[in-house]
């Protein structure tokens, strides 16, 4: 099946439609909540939570013997939450910093999860195959009930987000100030963390525990490049997430059922790289262009202010001077002289230059402007 075949089938084929819808919704909610994680500088929390979910999945299977995804996800949710609370506990009660706590819990839980997974694989039970799809995700296994669950969680998150929009924005920007205004930051914190945990858990089947955090962070990081408004950023992150989800699933399904997680993450990463380079305000490309432009302007300004220092000794500022006297001065070239002329700062006439009123004003204001821009 090629990519174009895949998309032509999406509208008719029930399974494909379910999978596509599911990954779109998942990408959207991850992008949305991921923006919060990024802005709270808790990017790694998602990574720890998703890895911490693995032993829960394995234990849920061992206890119930069922491979039903909802049962396993409840296991994932419980162990993900335990991991989150332990991280908080470690940060609060010990001198360890949060990166250490995250790293500890992440590897501890993941190690335990892998141990259980290998143990399950050695069990004489035909039913065990397929648990390893939770490592890297397999969107093809999504069924309608999974998609419904995703839609419900997304709906709840969206409502919570809209209702507490003001409070969340305040919390993200300035925690201490939020407290001083009498808001209970603990409630807000628990609310937002629970939503992130929920989003991670429902994404495990599709993206897998190993790469789930990228699904949270990549769309948000890409979205931040394009806007300076929180609302627009969250909206864009949801769109980027949805597109990564849909495209990633399409690519993986159309090429021999590759693991979905890595493909989705690679596509999300493409969004990030594109945004880092090409976004107009913050992108590397435009920054470099601005840098060169500023550099050139600086050379011009240098020349211009030197001209000013000569011209101001005369009563008439437009008194003509020989171009030759500029020779002693670095930064003067024929090109820069032409440029100054094209901006009407000077006029050049027979190897003589003279400052215009406009050029004069430019120099006088140049230093003030620099102060203003500071």
């Amino acid at each position: 099946m090629t990519l174009s075949e895949y998309f032509s089938l999406v509208f008719n084929d029930y399974t494909l439609r379910t999978i596509t819808l599911g990954t779109a919704v998942l990408g959207a909610i991850c992008g949305m909540l991921g923006s919060f994680a990024v802005l709270r500088k808790q990017s790694l929390l998602g990574d720890a939570i998703s890895h911490a979910a693995l032993p829960g999945i394995a234990l849920a299977f061992l206890i119930t013997g069922a491979k039903n995804s909802n049962t396993l996800l409840i296991g994932a949710l419980i162990s993900g939450l335990i991991g989150t609370f332990w991280i908080r506990g470690i940060v609060k009660k010990t001198h360890l910093k949060s990166d250490t706590a995250l790293g500890l819990i992440l590897s501890l839980f993941f190690g335990f999860g892998m141990l259980l997974l290998t143990f399950i694989q050695k069990m004489p039970n035909a039913n065990q195959a397929g648990l390893d799809k939770y490592l890297f995700g397999q969107a093809a296994t999504l069924v309608e009930s999974d998609v419904w669950l995703m839609c419900i969680v997304t709906g709840i998150s969206l409502i919570v987000l809209l209702v507490f929009w003001k409070e969340f924005k305040l919390l993200l920007f300035d925690v201490d100030y939020t407290k001083s205004l009498g808001f209970n930051t603990r409630i807000l914190d628990v609310l937002i963390t629970s939503l992130i945990v929920l989003a991670i858990v429902i994404g495990l089947q599709t993206v897998g525990v190993v790469l789930m955090s990228a699904m949270l962070l990549a769309p948000a990081a890409a979205a931040r490049q394009w806007t300076n408004s929180l609302g627009v950023m969250i909206f864009l992150a949801a769109i980027f997430g949805a597109f990564s989800g849909v495209l990633g699933t399409a690519v993986s399904a159309s090429s021999n059922n590759l693991s979905t997680g890595p493909v989705i993450v690679l596509i999300a990463a493409t969004f990030v790289i594109f945004s880092f380079i090409f976004s107009p305000g913050r992108g590397l490309l435009f920054r470099e262009i601005r840098y060169w432009k500023n550099r050139n302007d600086l050379h011009l300004h240098k020349t211009l202010s030197f001209m000013y220092s000569i011209a101001k000794t005369h009563d008439d500022i437009s008194h003509p001077h020989a171009v030759k006297i500029l020779n002693n001065f670095q930064g003067y070239t024929k090109r820069s002289l032409k440029k100054l002329e094209s901006r009407e700062y000077i006029t050049v006439n027979n190897a003589m230059w003279s400052l215009t009123q406009k050029g004069y004003n430019k120099v006088v204001n140049m230093y003030n402007q620099q102060e203003n821009n500071d």
Partner: protein
């Protein structure tokens, strides 16, 4: 100056990991003063402010705002945190940050409307930042960011203002502008408490002062207690040469 007490701090002790930051602080701040808190680095100045605001929980002691705990009185208190305490690359505009000052009186869930926007614009004008209202906050200079924080507190229209180093990293013009606003607040009967570093300007700017170095050294009107003795006790070196009035 009225006889009403704005803030009462009673036996306040705060510690991070066994190390006391504030030790048994007693403080009675009358309403309507413009007070500086001075002391060396690590003296607990910011911690004292945060303890008054109930942001940091003390291991002992209590704080009362107009005779009641902070939880019941937060609407009467406005806070200007240290500028460095937030990420200025946050995706928002200057006006939006100032609007945050209205969130407290709005309470949970309710959204700010035209009335709140008008108040925010007025505050921006007061600090001379109206023309920057739509500016992304990372594009503002340090002094402008400080003024945005001040405007955010002004919007709260509180009785008590607690400010953590509002003069840090601002130029002389901004400093004058800020102190004029603070003096205006005091004239309007507000209580203003400022963590301050520049000892030279204390007599000029403030009418009350608290010397702090883990313990409280002294508190009172500047003209009575701002002297070499207290400065030496607080900073541990002789200040006779540097502060001559």
């Amino acid at each position: 100056m009225s006889e009403k007490i704005a803030i009462t701090v009673d036996d306040l002790t705060v510690a991070y990991n066994y190390k006391p930051v504030l030790w048994d602080i007693d403080l009675v701040i009358p309403e309507g003063v413009l007070m500086a808190i001075v002391g060396p680095n690590g003296a607990g100045k910011s911690t004292l402010i945060k303890s008054i605001l109930d942001i940091i929980k003390p291991i002992a002691g209590s704080v009362k705002i107009f005779g009641k705990p902070y939880k019941k009185q937060y609407q009467h208190v406005a806070y200007v945190p240290q500028k460095g305490s937030v990420d200025w690359d946050f995706p928002t505009t200057a006006l939006d940050v100032v609007m945050m000052g209205t969130y407290g009186s709005l309470g949970w869930i309710k959204r700010p409307g035209q009335k709140q926007k008008k108040a925010a614009l007025e505050a921006l004008e007061k600090v001379g930042m109206l023309e920057f209202k739509s500016r992304q906050i990372s594009q503002l200079s340090g002094g402008q960011q400080q003024r945005i924080f001040l405007a955010r507190a002004l919007v709260q229209n509180s009785s008590i203002y607690l400010m953590d180093e509002p003069f840090q990293g601002v130029d002389a013009t901004t400093e004058k502008a800020i102190i004029n606003i603070l003096k205006e607040l005091r004239k309007a009967g507000k209580t203003v408490i400022v963590v301050h570093h520049d000892l030279q300007t204390v007599p000029e700017y403030f009418d009350w002062v608290t010397f702090l170095n883990v313990k409280k050294i002294a508190t009172g009107p500047v003209k009575d207690i701002f002297n070499d003795d207290n400065l030496t006790k607080t900073y541990g070196i002789n200040y006779k040469v540097s502060i001559q009035q």
